[in-house]
């Protein structure tokens, strides 16, 4: 008499019931804020559900805290980007009025790009951003950074391939 196999989603549900309040407590300690902790805990379970991966049931709390940690990193990333974007806005010679909606969309785009760039070396990253975001030609980039056009192209191919691989989902 073996119990019926629990589907992975079923497992997620059990996970929720058994560990939700523990996760809230864990996040509260990390963040020092009840409201953020509750939001992050909820988003952690949403992430677990949408990933459709069998949770590591032997260590459910380690699994949940790994997911929560990556969401916390996203939160730090978003705040850092928003701050940096506002600073870039303020550094413009002319004041620019950006609506909150537009700003949220821009931050989302920057989040996506920033995540794609994770793991790229500093030089590759800079060459790539000069080409893709500032629209400089490879010749101009080579002149500016004092390297050959071929070198610039090599870095660009490497960065693009890196992003294409990361774009999988």
């Amino acid at each position: 008499m073996s119990p019926p196999d629990l589907s992975q989603q079923h497992a997620v549900h059990t996970l929720y019931q058994e560990h939700h309040s523990w996760l809230c407590g864990w996040l509260r300690k990390k963040l020092g804020c009840v409201e953020n902790a509750a939001d992050l805990a909820q988003d952690t379970f949403v992430r677990v559900m949408t990933q459709r991966k069998a949770p590591e049931l032997r260590e459910p709390r380690a699994y949940l805290s790994t997911v929560a940690r990556s969401l916390m990193i996203d939160m730090f990333r978003r705040r850092g980007l928003e701050q940096a974007y506002l600073e870039a806005l303020m550094a413009l010679p002319e004041p620019v009025d950006v609506s909150p909606e537009t700003r949220a969309l821009i931050i989302e785009t920057l989040m996506r790009i920033d995540t794609l760039l994770d793991g790229l070396g500093g030089r590759t990253r800079e060459i790539f951003l000069l080409a893709q975001l500032d629209g400089l030609s490879y010749v101009e980039i080579g002149r500016r950074l004092q390297v050959s056009v071929n070198t610039v192209k090599k870095h660009a191919v490497r960065a693009l391939t890196h992003c294409l691989l990361a774009l999988e989902d």
């Binding site: 589907s7 953020n36 990333r77 705040r79 974007y85 870039a88 989302e108 996506r112 660009a156 693009l160």
Partner: protein, 317 residues
């Protein structure tokens, strides 16, 4: 849910190289011709090039002149962990607005029934659900979609007309069922899902078969796995009898019948293979399954063996 095609490194790198080579070469006909040949050479090349298009689209959305300083500024900040921490502390709970705008799907509610329990649920848009025994689901309504995630068990859906005209989709581990009408049943079991349509139609999409879709009309049923669509069958009559607390079977094997009863009853309920092929028809009350089992002994050559409250077996008489 369409699965992303797995593209290998070499193909993606080739796409990246084409992108770099073509940049600033709008008038180089020979190069464009060679690129066309590369695309036609292999369908994966086309997929890689499409992915390149999506990457380009992402960068196109970035604000010119601001994106690079913002990204570099954020990166410099990230190196200074302490500074970042102070940023977090300074922003506190109230300043977390940007974080809150995350378009993560919101979990609105969880619904669950115990073994033997049934429940009606009314959703925000007026749609009605009936949950059969041992059923668990999540409800996710967003601005663009009405989504249910059936984790286990069985569900009857009666969709209401939505003011926002949002599609109504039920996801199971094996795929998705999109409502094109008003009344249908979705059931999720180990490894397979099934849908039985009572009014109008639904569209079924297995999770791991990108592009595969099958329309199931009223009076039809369909089983599907994550990588396989079954064939359309006439719907079992009275597939929704459970909503009235009944189980109706017509010429089923005893083994199948007992497996069905097992769903509604806590503990183990087994059937000896020696009698599993016996045929059975009838209407049974789900609320009193022990009586149902006892009555089997008057119509079939079986006896009910009860070792404990949670261990019951149907055996040859």
């Amino acid at each position: 849910m369409a699965q992303p095609q797995a593209l290998d490194y070499a193909t993606l790198e080739a796409a990246a190289r084409w992108y770099v080579d073509l940049r600033g070469e709008a008038r180089n006909e020979a190069l464009h011709e060679a690129h066309r040949r590369w695309l036609e050479h292999d369908s994966r090349n086309v997929l890689a090039w499409e992915r390149m298009g999506r990457l380009q689209a992402t960068f196109d959305q970035a604000p010119a002149g601001l994106a690079r300083p913002a990204l570099n500024g954020a990166r410099a900040k990230r190196r200074e962990v302490l500074k970042l921490l102070s940023l977090l502390l300074a922003s506190g709970c109230v300043g977390s607005l940007a974080w809150r705008t995350t378009p993560l799907p919101t979990l609105v509610a969880d619904q669950r029934t115990a073994t033997g329990e049934r429940r009606r649920v009314r959703l925000d848009d007026g749609s009605q659900l009936q949950l059969n025994t041992a059923t668990a689901l999540n409800i996710r309504y967003s601005d663009s979609l009405r989504e249910l995630q059936l984790l286990s068990g069985e569900l009857l859906v009666e969709t209401a007309r939505d003011a926002l005209a949002r599609p109504f989709v039920v996801h199971t581990a094996q795929g998705s069922v999109r409502a094109l009408g008003t009344r249908f049943i979705v059931r999720s079991e180990a490894g397979t899902s099934s849908v039985s349509v009572q009014q109008h139609a639904v569209e079924v999409r297995p999770a791991d078969l990108p592009g595969a879709v099958l329309r199931v009309e009223a009076g039809q049923q369909l089983s599907f796995a994550d990588d396989r669509l079954g064939t359309l069958q006439p719907a079992a009559p009275y597939a929704d009898a459970w909503t009235r607390g009944m189980l109706l079977v017509s010429d089923r094997s005893l083994g199948e019948f007992i497996a069905e009863l097992q769903r509604y009853r806590p503990g183990h309920l087994g059937c000896d293979p020696a009698v599993a092929a016996l045929r059975i028809s009838g209407a049974f009350q789900l609320r009193d399954l022990d009586t149902v089992l006892d009555n089997l002994t008057t119509t079939l050559p079986v006896r009910i063996s009860r070792l404990s409250r949670y261990w019951t077996r149907v055996e040859p008489a």
